[in-house]
């Protein structure tokens, strides 16, 4: 039923009709009418951030921990440009967002007006789709379509740019429609022929592997359950990308750990040596494949993905299945159970024997020390002391992120929020704000580095304002550790600008920001300090002083293959500098 109202009112009405409970934003001249409407209602709660990038990351954290779309509201010009990093991050990691931006009035567009920028031009390559609304009668349709596009198929961020005169103008509001979109209708269920061919191939596999990714998480919790069932009935080993952690439980017997550049020895060798690879909702990213012409040379590959452009992009696959992971897994399981042939048990037994040999390398091992906290040890203790609680983990980007992925073990989906594709330092703190907003009673921890955390530090104030007791667990090694690690690999250890000089005293900083500061410097005091952090019902900055020169292993140097991994002891044998070829040096 159509109703007359102003554009600004329509925005709130549309959010309400879409079931939005929270939005993250920052006001400004070009969105004042919308903020005035926010003021006059209480169905949608607005969370005031301190920087627009923080609003988008918070919405990402909210979306990833709930499966619902995140909503952002920012003003024109700098509001929109500040949101660009977050939008790009959401695009790379396929996170559903609707970002509403204010715009100068339509008659001023193109005039270089105050706080004007070409928002749709700037965000075109970093959104799934974007709209500039030039007629108030289009506004409600566009807003509902934005939610549809953000969620349908491979999720992603959508920008709706609304000029200020459109917000003031009165027009017809229409509710969400169930009409099929005229052009954008991604397939959901995979082709039956492809599914049958895939089951046939899997049935004959002697050295199979399930390679899973963020698509399993994006498909919803049911998809993770189906993955577990598929693993159970086939007996196949399971590995996952950074984005997919938690879809299969880390305590599962068939779990090989994460694969890729900093993945485990067993996961990468199994990928290299397998004969049938089932890629489920992952995209053969360069962090995963390593040297692409040496990537899993002997395997037949099945690829399940909702996005046809992911198929054959980096790696040629033998059986593509275009569809939603949940739907496709359900069908695969049904066909697998219905078929008469048995899996090649004897061959699989030999395969597991081989995998156990690789596991025996214990590639995540490190040298424990009594005098200084090893960063891996800090994560291990954090895991042990929080695993039985209702815990959500976010991270920044760098060594700490990889150590978290290696040493914090996830049992469930939607518990792990990290910037995978774009690698955005500063993601974790605002993402934690978003997660905590959605899960008020949960324990939300941002595993951070001292460099990353300073990029979006101001969002501590947001956490304080909304009583969000997020825990910022900083592995402080006074270095941009991952960059430094690469300087060791590529540039003979010339540490150009990777030392974090002039660091703040994080404990005092926490106090100044009305948070709680805690510091741990010795392994002996770590457990008590972590327990104290968990107990405090306020935002905490935890300054965990760790061994400064530790590096992140295992590692596949760029330009190398899965079976050319560096293990932790490489550092002492002095071959880290020779580990990378001239050709590999140009890679990132």
């Amino acid at each position: 039923m159509a109703r007359k109202m102003t554009g600004a009112r329509m925005v709130l009405k549309a959010l309400e009709d879409q079931g939005v409970a929270h939005m993250f934003g920052y006001p400004g001249g070009a969105v004042l009418p919308i903020y005035d409407e926010i003021y006059q209602q209480d169905k949608v709660q607005h969370i005031l951030v301190r920087h627009e990038q923080g609003a988008v990351h918070a919405a990402e954290g909210y979306a990833r921990s709930t499966g619902k779309p995140g909503v952002v509201l920012v003003t024109s010009g700098p509001g929109a440009t500040n949101a660009v990093t977050g939008l790009t991050d959401a695009l790379m990691d396929s996170i559903p967002l609707v970002c509403i931006t204010g715009q100068v009035p339509t008659h001023l567009i193109g005039n270089d007006a105050f706080q004007e920028c070409d928002t749709v031009g700037i965000t075109r390559p970093c959104t799934k789709h974007n709209y500039l609304v030039k007629d108030v009668n289009d506004l409600s349709r566009v807003l509902h379509e934005a939610f549809y596009v953000a969620l349908a198929g491979r999720p992603g961020p959508v920008v709706v740019d609304i000029p200020k005169d459109i917000q003031f103008a009165t027009g017809e509001y229409t509710g969400p429609s169930k009409v099929r979109h005229k052009t954008y209708n991604p397939p959901v269920s995979g082709s039956q022929d492809a599914i049958r061919a895939a089951v046939e191939l899997m049935g004959g596999a002697k050295k199979p592997i399930l390679y899973t990714g963020g698509g399993v998480i994006n498909s919803g919790p049911a998809a993770s359950q189906l993955l577990r069932e598929l693993a159970h009935i086939t007996g196949f080993p399971v590995t996952s990308t950074l984005m997919g952690l938690g879809a299969y439980p880390a305590s599962g017997k068939q779990w090989l750990g994460m694969l890729g550049m900093h993945g485990t020895y067993e996961a990468n060798w199994a990928m290299h040596d397998c004969d049938v690879m089932v890629c489920i909702g992952a995209r053969f990213d360069d962090r995963i494949t390593g040297r692409i012409d040496a990537f899993s040379p002997g395997s037949k590959k099945i690829h399940i993905d909702i996005d046809p452009s992911s198929i054959n992009k980096n790696v040629h696959v033998d059986i593509p299945i275009i569809g939603d992971v949940g739907h496709v897994l359900e069908e695969i399981i049904r066909v697998w159970k219905a078929r008469s042939a048995e899996a090649d048990k004897a061959a699989q037994k030999a395969w597991w024997k081989q995998i156990d040999k690789w596991r025996a390398k214990k590639s995540l091992n490190y040298k424990k020390r009594d005098d200084v906290i090893m960063p891996q040890y800090a994560i291990e203790r954090l895991y042990e002391l929080t695993k039985d609680k209702n815990t959500y983990i976010t991270t920044e980007v760098g060594q700490h992120q990889m150590w978290a992925a290696q040493h914090y073990h996830f049992e469930d989906p939607n518990r792990w929020m990290t910037s995978g594709g774009l690698g955005t330092m500063g993601y974790g703190l605002p993402a934690a704000v978003g997660v905590q907003m959605a899960h008020r009673d949960a324990l939300v921890i941002d595993i951070a580095g001292e460099a990353s955390v300073q990029m979006t530090m101001q969002e501590m104030s947001t956490a304080v304002q909304y009583d969000l007791p997020i825990k910022i667990f900083i592995l402080n090694n006074e270095y941009m550790g991952m960059v430094r690690q690469w300087q060791e690999l590529l540039h003979e250890g010339r540490y150009a600008h990777t030392y974090s000089e002039a660091l703040p005293d994080f404990v005092k900083l926490a106090e100044a920001m009305q948070c709680v500061g805690i510091r741990a410097e010795k392994p002996s005091e770590l457990d008590a300090a972590i327990k104290e952090m968990i107990k405090v019902d306020k935002p905490v900055l935890f300054d965990c002083r760790v061994e400064q020169m530790a590096n992140c292993f295992p590692m596949i140097p760029s330009g190398e293959a899965h079976n050319e991994m560096l293990l932790g002891d490489a550092e002492e044998e002095g071959d880290i500098k020779e580990a990378i070829s001239e050709k590999g040096k140009v890679l990132v």
């Binding site: 005229k182 046809p308 198929i311 980096n314």
Partner: protein, 182 residues
Amino acid sequence: MNTSPAQSHYQSQTVSEQVETHTLSVLVDNEPGVLARVIGLFSGRGYNIDSLTVSETEHTAHLSRITVVTAGTPMIIDQIKHQLERLVPVHSVVDLTVVGTPMERELALIKVASKGEARVEALRLAEAFRAQVIDASTEHFVFELTGRLNKIEQFIMLMQPLGLVETARTGIAAIGRGKEPM
């Protein structure tokens, strides 16, 4: 309009397939920014554009047809097609080169300034190529020529020594053979 081929460091290690030229027909909603989305996709992902034409073809439905000639390995061509299909305002993408030998035509306007024997020769060749004279003075001709790419290339090459001063070309419009639409 060429951009460098779509090769990241990683792909460049493995490209061994032949580069092929394909003509794609893309049916899109004629809305602001739609051409920018298509062109941005090509430049952003490092695909080639050899030729591009666009015009509204169905006025009531506000549909435009973009004809793009591109070059790449079969894997890249496939990528381009799928990436285009992902754009929200895109209705359909048809690779005319795969469907069958498409009919491709281009229109060129060619200005030749010369006197005497060269001028006579230019006009004689224009007749042989069935080019129309659409403007003339005692010192110049403007020819209108329609045809396949190689015919136009050939004509321009012949005009070069005869006083060619300017060329304007539309880019290729293409359509599939037979009675079925795309």
